[in-house]
């Protein structure tokens, strides 16, 4: 679904990595590991199109990158894009619908992530773990095959890590693909790729 070949990334004066190759197949999860500052986040941002690589190519199966970024990629980074002053319901509706979800998809995400009791709260009143679940809901609500996740589990407790593992497994079973930068192992069977070596 996603092929990276000969990718080089430079941030400022520093070379993060050169000639990086990666292939992500349908139904596959890849756990991206590496030391702090090795370039995991930068690689994910380059794949999402936020960063321009110094050299190399990023190709998506069947579609050109612009189309892929507009319709096929989910991005969940350190920043969740949620507005603290707005209610969880409004923010979820915007994020999910903007990325292509319909009402049924949003309802399903609310159900799976047990968000119902949080929906009428302002986002700033949510705990870090609850916020993360709210941000994750857009991935469930809007069907997009490629998930790019940056430290998706950091604020979550064991129970919700396991629950998200089930959601990710369901996504993989449907033919989706997951590329996640992690320090802990992913809760789904995943191929480990280390960068910066």
């Amino acid at each position: 679904m996603l092929t990276v070949s000969g990718l080089s990334l430079i941030r400022g004066e520093r070379v993060l990595f050169r000639d990086f190759d990666l292939a992500l197949a349908s139904g596959e999860a890849v756990a991206l590991t590496g030391a702090n500052g090795a370039g995991k986040t930068s690689l994910l941002r380059a794949l999402a199109g936020f960063l321009r690589p110094e050299a190399g190519a990023i190709a998506f199966a069947d579609v050109d990158p612009t189309e892929a970024r507009a319709k096929h990629i989910h991005w969940l980074g350190h920043l969740d894009g949620l507005k603290g002053a707005r209610r969880a319901r409004e923010e979820l509706a915007f994020q999910a619908e903007w990325l292509g979800a319909d009402a049924a998809g949003v309802a399903a995400a609310v159900d799976v992530l047990a968000l119902e009791p949080l929906l009428d709260l302002e986002v700033r009143k949510l705990s870090a773990g609850q916020r993360r679940r709210l941000a994750f809901a857009r991935l469930v609500a809007a069907p997009r095959p490629i998930w790019l996740l940056d430290e998706p589990f950091a604020p979550l407790d064991a129970r919700w890590r396991a629950a998200l593992g089930l959601i990710m497994q369901a996504h993989l079973d449907k033919g989706g693909a997951i590329l996640a930068a992690v320090h802990d192992p992913l809760p789904v069977p995943a191929r480990a790729v280390e960068i910066g070596r």
């Binding site: 941002r45 999402a48 199109g49 936020f50 960063l51 321009r52 970024r69 507009a70 319709k71 990629i73 989910h74 991005w75 980074g77 350190h78 920043l79 969740d80 894009g81 949620l82 507005k83 603290g84 002053a85 707005r86 409004e90 915007f94 994020q95 619908e97 903007w98 990325l99 292509g100």
Partner: protein, 221 residues
């Protein structure tokens, strides 16, 4: 199209809600226009010839206030990344944001402007023209303002930088808008000045989407 509507609704809610966008802009505008007669020393007749100019200067300054909210907040909290990944091109998203800014700030300012202009000594008969020109000019302010806000993205103390980037770009609408009022005061038709004002808006409408989107992509990188 549906996606742009979704973004439009969110932008309006953000512009009207928290932070008091329109109220703040209108309050600031009224304060400015109330200060000028006090500073100029209580001779209303002396102010009358420059009333239109003062009103337009105050409009320009008030339009800058909430520009920082337009992109900077979305960059800080990551929402700009999501907007980039949406189904609509970033260029159109920039336009939608600028239009929401116009409706939420330019609209209320256009309604407040006649009040201030009349207080400054403009004949009440000119009030509709003040509102109309402020509404057209407000769209120009919103579009070039959005460009300035995008260019200042990621800079420290971006709010101040926006003002410095944007104020020179606001010179033409201030000249044309105040010109329309001055022509009317001298018994001439305001049409030519309004046409120049509209031309400025069209120019901004062409430049802002592309330059703004490019500036946003640059700030993300």
């Amino acid at each position: 199209m549906r996606a742009l509507l979704i973004l439009w609704r969110r932008e309006l809610a953000l512009a009207w809600g928290g932070g008091g966008g329109p109220l703040l802009a209108c309050g600031f505008f009224l304060c400015l226009t109330a200060l000028v007669p006090l500073a100029a020393g209580g001779d209303p007749a002396g102010l009358r010839p420059v009333a239109g100019g003062i009103a337009w200067l105050a409009l320009a300054l008030s339009s800058i206030l909430s520009l920082e909210r337009l992109f900077e907040r979305d960059l800080e909290d990551g929402a700009l990344d999501l907007i980039t990944l949406g189904p609509a091109p970033l260029e159109l998203a920039v336009v939608v944001k600028a239009l929401a800014q116009w409706l939420a700030v330019g609209g209320p300012l256009a309604l407040t402007a006649p009040l201030a202009a009349v207080t400054l000594g403009l004949p009440p008969a000119h009030a509709p023209l003040v509102a109309l020109s402020a509404l057209i000019g407000g769209l120009g302010f919103a579009l070039t303002g959005a460009l300035g806000a995008a260019l200042a993205l990621g800079a420290k103390r971006g709010g101040l930088l926006i003002a410095v980037v944007v104020l020179p770009l606001f010179i033409p609408p201030v000249v044309f808008g105040a010109g329309a009022l001055e022509r009317t005061a001298n018994g001439l038709s305001p049409a030519p000045a309004l046409a120049f004002l509209a031309a400025y808006v069209l120019f901004a409408a062409v430049v802002t989407p592309f330059a703004g989107a490019a500036a946003i992509r640059n700030a993300q990188g």
